[in-house]
């Protein structure tokens, strides 16, 4: 493979440096890498841009198998590459459910075959996501996909005994259970955050306590059995307090927040536009501010997209009939820049920590979330942080267009992504 010399990039937002890629690994990082060492290298002018390790998304829905009309592994990984990602964890709620070694291997192999982004399948915790019987967690771990993260995402593992057993069982191979915290009885008929806006609109409320009570239970279970638990898409100020308490107590808990929960509030639901319908629902401004603060101080460990593609017809209807979810891979970094970097809450090294190093560590993604230094795999991305432009879903690589940001101005534009030294995105265009 040929060499690539990235000139003058602000590595993790620091002073400009050159990065030389040789084949699939980083050969050197420093100032003024001599032309000799870089002879024959393709030169990428990265002046003014920020270089980060390839982003890692611990929470993506690729929809294949089963809902290829919304997304496929190919279109989803192309969207990921567009957003600066080099690895995504694909959620298990496909058709069939990813609850066997066969399904997870299929998804894993499709990712490898397409070559835009490593796809690390997440295995279901229970058979068919039904919450009754543990899926073959060990077999999925031992498969070619090497599953380490298990989740019934979309549904909560609400049975305390099943949750306890899952937490215990995955200790055998260092796995983690990622919980979609939603007490099912408290959210029957739920359409949006329960509060002032839901009262007025007459839409069924999804109370914060339905999330918080499950998180409280699960951190206590994790403590009791000495396992690690990961909280998916945490969305309320109260959840932040519980995770903060759990961490102070030494409980092995990690948590993620989605970009949309860092930016949008339930006031948007007044439009009854289902593009804002998501689970967990958009909360209040007070929650948004608490989530930003928690992400800044490390209480929330990572940003995960919960990229949830849906075809047009599932959103172009009345609110109650619409599917829940929004796409996020291609706008995640821009939203994080707007809400965390441009507000001064986080620097770019902090973004790298929360969108690459830490998610890779939680998911045990080999070769991802590594330092930008010699000898490491060349999983990298460049972002033009000065860019300002409005979001145009027509240009998305994702098969679906259900973004809440259509027409909204967001900062930052990912220009390049390299997966093990192979460019997947060049000047904003997929290869």
């Amino acid at each position: 493979m040929s060499k690539i010399l990235i000139r003058g990039a602000k590595v993790l937002g620091g002073e400009p440096q050159d990065v030389l890629i040789d084949g699939s690994v980083i050969e050197a990082v420093g100032t003024g890498i001599s032309d000799e060492g870089a002879e024959g290298a393709e030169v990428v002018d990265a002046a003014g841009k920020v270089l980060l390790p390839g982003l890692v998304d611990l929470h993506t829905h690729l929809r294949e198998p089963g809902r290829e009309d919304s997304e496929t592994v190919l279109t989803g990984t192309r969207a990921a590459a567009s957003g600066g990602y080099t690895a995504v964890f694909a959620m298990a709620n496909t058709f069939p459910v990813a609850d066997t070694a066969g399904v997870v291997e299929q998804v894993y192999r499709l990712g490898q075959q397409h070559g835009y982004c490593d796809v690390q399948p997440i295995g279901a915790v229970t058979v068919g996501l039904e919450g009754r019987k543990l899926a073959e967690l060990g077999a999925m771990h031992e498969s070619a996909a090497g599953v380490t993260v298990f989740s019934d995402d979309g549904k909560c593992v609400d049975d305390a005994v099943i949750m306890r057993r899952a937490l215990e069982y995955v200790k055998a191979f260092g796995g983690v259970v990622a919980q979609h915290a939603q007490e099912p009885r408290l959210t029957e008929g739920a359409q949006m955050n329960e509060g002032v806006v839901s009262a007025e609109l007459g839409l069924g409320g999804w109370p914060s306590v339905a999330e918080e009570s499950i998180i409280a239970r699960d951190v206590l279970l994790a403590e009791h059995v000495g396992s690690r638990v990961h909280i998916c898409h945490l969305s309320t100020a109260g959840s932040v307090e519980i995770v903060r308490w759990a961490k102070s107590r030494g409980i092995d808990v990690t948590a993620e927040v989605t970009p949309h929960h860092l930016l949008l509030t339930d006031e948007l639901v007044r439009s009854y536009n289902p593009v804002y319908k998501v689970n967990p629902p958009l909360r209040t401004q007070q929650d948004v501010l608490a989530l930003r603060e928690a992400l800044a101080d490390g209480t929330i460990d990572i940003v995960a997209t919960d990229h949830a593609p849906h075809p047009h017809e599932d959103k172009d209807c009345e609110w109650a009939a619409a599917a829940m979810g929004m796409v996020g891979l291609e706008t995640a970094l821009s939203v994080v820049q707007e809400t965390m970097v441009d507000t001064g809450l986080l620097d770019w090294a902090g973004v790298a920590e929360r969108m690459s190093f830490k998610p890779a560590e939680i998911g045990r993604a080999k070769g991802h979330g590594r330092p930008v230094s010699a000898g490491e795999p060349a999983n990298l991305m460049l972002v033009d942080t000065e860019y300002r432009g409005s979001v145009d879903p027509a240009g998305f690589a994702s098969r679906s267009r259900n973004t809440p940001y259509e027409g909204r101005e967001l900062p930052g534009r990912v220009t390049h992504t390299w997966l093990r030294g192979k460019a997947t995105l060049v000047d904003g265009k997929l290869t």
């Binding site: 359409q191 329960e194 509060g195 002032v196 806006v197 839901s198 009262a199 007025e200 609109l201 007459g202 839409l203 409320g205 109370p207 439009s271 009854y272 017809e313 599932d314 172009d316 209807c317 009345e318 609110w319 109650a320 009939a321 619409a322």
Partner: protein, 325 residues
């Protein structure tokens, strides 16, 4: 006035009074031997009902026919409405047929708003009840009934309900009637108190322009009107309250309670009533109970709304004002 009527909260005080005044004129038509005006001749109105409601549909239909509009009834219940396409598809079908107004009843909150704002259709949209959100013509007919009874049929012209104290009792959480009435009565200057067990009061109610109480007895003596809402028996199974009897004891309106209301105070109910549950037969059949009047007034109100929204062939009561807005 706006082009659509989606929520009572969208009305200004003047809009609302104009509708009530126009309804008084429309009510006179009902007293004539031939109960028909040529106002909406040549206009096509569709009653698009995705949810059963014979009473509301018939009321709209009567209003439309008295205004000489061409009426199409479309009942979508039973068709596959599991996904939303049918609303959009139906809307576009109606649009293609050149419909001037759509009166929509839908089980999903926000469906009429979607219909009016999504570009699926150009027709005027009138919300005839959406989920647990709004039912603006119900609130208007209630306000019309209150104004007639508490201010006076002729004395009420041009007047609002300033200073009147209205108590609404029952399942506030699931009631589009309550939401619409709180909005409209506030706009008309009345003071509203909602009374319900705490389980039937929505979280987030604190921003509503009204008071909330859990005790019915303490509010009766200071009420000019008490509106009883229907309580569905299935709420009991969902643990909103322990038993039907306990609900009736605490929140039902019987003769003893009615006796504690001021002499001029009226009892209202949007119907259909569950006698013995939220209201006793004694109260329902008393001359203080306005249920039957409310039904009659509903036709006048709906005539007024259709007339004002669709701008008839003849000059409206204050047509210029509407044009200016």
């Amino acid at each position: 006035m706006q082009r659509h009527l989606i929520s009572a909260a969208d009305l200004t005080r003047d809009d609302a009074v104009l509708i009530l005044d126009t309804a008084e004129e429309m009510a006179r038509v009902a007293d004539r031997p031939i109960k028909k005006l040529p106002t909406l001749r040549g206009r096509t109105i569709v009653n698009l009902f995705f949810e059963d409601s014979t009473r509301t549909r018939i009321s709209f239909e009567a209003a439309e026919k008295r205004l000489s509009a061409d009426v199409i009834n479309f009942t979508a219940k039973g068709s596959s409405v599991s996904k939303g396409e049918s609303l959009k598809d139906t809307a576009q079908t109606l649009e293609a047929m050149g419909v001037d107004a759509v009166v929509i009843r839908h089980g999903a909150s926000g469906a009429p708003y979607r219909l009016a704002t999504s570009g699926w259709i150009d027709a005027a949209v009138i919300n005839a009840g959406d989920g647990t959100h709004q039912h603006p013509t119900q609130a208007l007919l209630d306000a019309f009934t209150m104004r007639r009874r508490l201010v006076g049929r002729d004395a009420g012209i041009g007047q609002d309900l300033a200073g009147k104290r209205i108590t609404i009792v029952g399942d506030i959480l699931h009631s589009r009637v309550a939401r619409s009435n709180v909005d409209l009565l506030h706009i008309l200057g009345a003071q509203v108190t909602l009374v319900a067990p705490p389980t039937l009061v929505p979280v987030g109610i604190e921003t509503w322009p009204c008071e909330v109480a859990y005790d019915l007895d303490s509010t009766l003596a200071k009420s000019d009107a008490v509106m009883m809402l229907r309580v569905q028996r299935e709420r009991m199974n969902a643990a909103f309250f322990p038993t039907e009897r306990e609900y009736s004891r605490r929140y039902g309106l019987d003769g003893d309670r009615m006796a504690r209301m001021p002499e001029h105070a009226i009892v209202m109910h949007p119907g259909p009533m569950v006698r013995g549950m939220e209201i006793t037969a004694e109260v329902a059949d008393s001359d203080r109970c306005t249920v039957v009047e409310q039904v009659a007034n509903g036709v006048s109100i709906r005539m007024a709304v259709l007339y004002l929204l669709l701008g008839g062939n003849e000059p409206a009561v204050s047509h210029t004002r509407i044009e200016e807005k």
